[in-house]
Assembly symmetry: D3
Homo-oligomer: 163 residues x 6
């Protein structure tokens, strides 16, 4: 059984993430969306909220599992018996960071490959950071996030900002 | 059965090619090394010679097949029932060219994905063009090409240049 | 009167060209699409054919004129009393080439600015070269070129290749 | 009337900013230098000080207005009836960030274009951050900022650092 | 006497740093490894610890001296009668940052050149930040740092993290 | 004695070349400008003409010698007892090509380093190709080439084009 891992913070999941994950799932038997619990990094949405968004988006896709993990991604991959990490590439700046990460991860665990998928052009300028910036300004996020969670994201964001 | 295609001209196959192909073969059931017959492009080694080099390098790897094709790569992939094209990424300039090709290929056939593997650092500066330049100057190609074909390549290259 | 110039070879005009030209025309009073007659460069379509395609695409847009010119673009701009050259940017490699050209053109004529528009994501991977490659392989060019000239391009291309 | 907007924090305005703004003003009827009031971002100079520098630099240029705004730049552009945002491009890293911003802004308001001007070579390495670093080390900022405000910047900076 | 300066924070020194420094020392009579004391920047290892690592690595190389400095690097170079700063280049993103720094430093002191060495491929993905990330996760740093200080780094890092 | 080599075709030498060469000569005892005789590559100016231009530009600088060579640059460096090749970096695209070349040259001869100097901003957009394009269009090349050879270049170019 071929198991792939899509690591990330998904704060929140974007249309770009959803596109890469759906395409990657076609190339393996199980795809684990893995949310890193990094205590140093503040997120806008809580781990529980981010997982809830992902569950709603990939509900019904039996190949996809959603989990959280802490520590090194390659160590998590070893435990999960995964053979590859999946990453999307949008731009040249992505490329250089991802190259460095892929080489460091290979050093940590040569049995785990990193597979890259090119972002679809229509999603190439989207990032979780851009979605959060839109939310902060109450701007329309249609198209930036999967439609089925758009209203949930907006409602939750407004509640957070009212605090 | 998961079938991947590694298209290229392999003029000649380098250590970098061999690394990507070996790693990619781990992620599929059959990997076809596909040499495009492009009448517009002159090669240093003939199609027959290039195939012979590849056969010697991958001899014994039962997952790997070597073929030639003409026309569009995506059309060839459709005939072969392949689900992905495999490409290596060495540098930023690779990235931009490969992005354009991946998007055009997806337009031609949305059912064929392009999967990218990062070149290993020790092969990141190697290209078939560099090997040919070394051969033209009778320089030592150790490390640039798989060891088992190094002497064949040198012998054949010298014969060609004496003509 | 603000006059802008869009120089290029348009061999043939693509959906990406049409997008940039239409957007640029909103920012001036007259936009001249200027086809450079460069005797050193072979084109697939003749100057007359390329102009005919452009005329059909921009027919009815009263701001747009289509002309050919020879020699330096900045000299042509001076004669036409244009204040800016318009260029589209798709990728990092475009950026560096265009930077060099813009600086050289400014040296030739400091009164002519170069204005840049970012390519729309959906056209970011399209080039005239890609269209010609599709035509050579009889592949579907829908979306790559403006719809109103798609059939004309295919018909003319087939006639040329039969020769 | 063609209205352009040059958004930024101008902390402080550099020779590079002044060059782009002066060139852009030639292509419109009114150019608004718009200082974003972003409460999350700390600046070295206060909004009032940054506006005072800009006023001194562009004093006498009747096309240029200086304002501050909060919220989304595209919403501010809509209120001001502006048809374009003006941005300078210095380097590849600028290009990728600006591409993402231009596409997001277009999504927010398709009626506002982003126009790009290439930085002049002699200013291509200058940034507000570099000016502040020079000030912190009491180094000579001649050439980095418009000459007419150089002494004001130094005096104000010294006063701030003595606190 | 030709004196070169290798400025940096070396937090900690990596195999990549050691490679560049050793190669650069071949091209001058004295090479000063200069650790900037920047009060704004927090380091993982103290200045004293970082100097101790460097001393152990370059112990016996009579050309190399290790010092700390504060203020502008070009001013420090002037005092030391150095004619060049030495920098390594790993990637495109390095290139753009280093270009800006080299031009600013030349403005500060035209008598000090910046010399660039390309990182060896096997070290091209290594950075002090990556070493620290490995340490935080108790991962194997073999190859990332000079072998003679590997155990010291691990021991010291564990002591720090237990606090 | 420290000997450096500046390889190139100098067709013709530009102000950018002259800047890098002059700066590099400050860091060695002898600098050899080495013109590769590559029979495959057509040049606009003959080897004799290109050498004459260089001689006029560097006449009086006792450190600088001008020679031609054939074959591999690293082999020529070995014969000349040179310890480094000197290259200028203008842009990201330069960087990637130069990285590949530097690594291949090191493989051919590990005793020869490649040293990089950043192009001065005012020369960052100049290339021999741009100079030839200006000459073809009879445009003003002031600033693009060293002033002392400007008229010689123009006269020789006109003579060639009249043929």
């Amino acid at each position: 059984m071929k198991i792939y891992i899509c690591p990330g913070s998904y704060d929140p999941v974007t249309s770009g993430h959803a596109d890469i994950i759906t395409r990657a799932a076609d190339h393996c038997d199980k795809l684990i969306i893995a949310l890193g619990e990094n205590s140093l990094k503040n997120t806008f949405f809580t781990l529980k909220e981010r997982i809830a968004f992902l569950k709603k988006v990939f509900n019904g896709n039996e190949k996809i599992e959603i989990e959280s993990y802490s520590g090194l991604t390659t160590e998590y991959a070893r435990i999960k018996k995964a053979t590859a990490l999946v990453r999307g590439l949008r731009a040249v700046s992505d490329f250089e960071y991802e190259y460095q990460m892929a080489m460091l991860n290979r050093k940590l665990n040569p049995d785990v490959e990193t597979l890259f998928f090119m972002a679809s052009p229509e999603y190439s300028y989207i990032s979780s950071g851009a979605v959060r910036e839109f939310l902060r300004n109450d701007a329309d996020i249609t198209g930036l996030v999967p439609e089925c969670i758009r209203e949930d994201i907006i409602a939750l964001s407004r509640k957070k900002m009212m605090k």
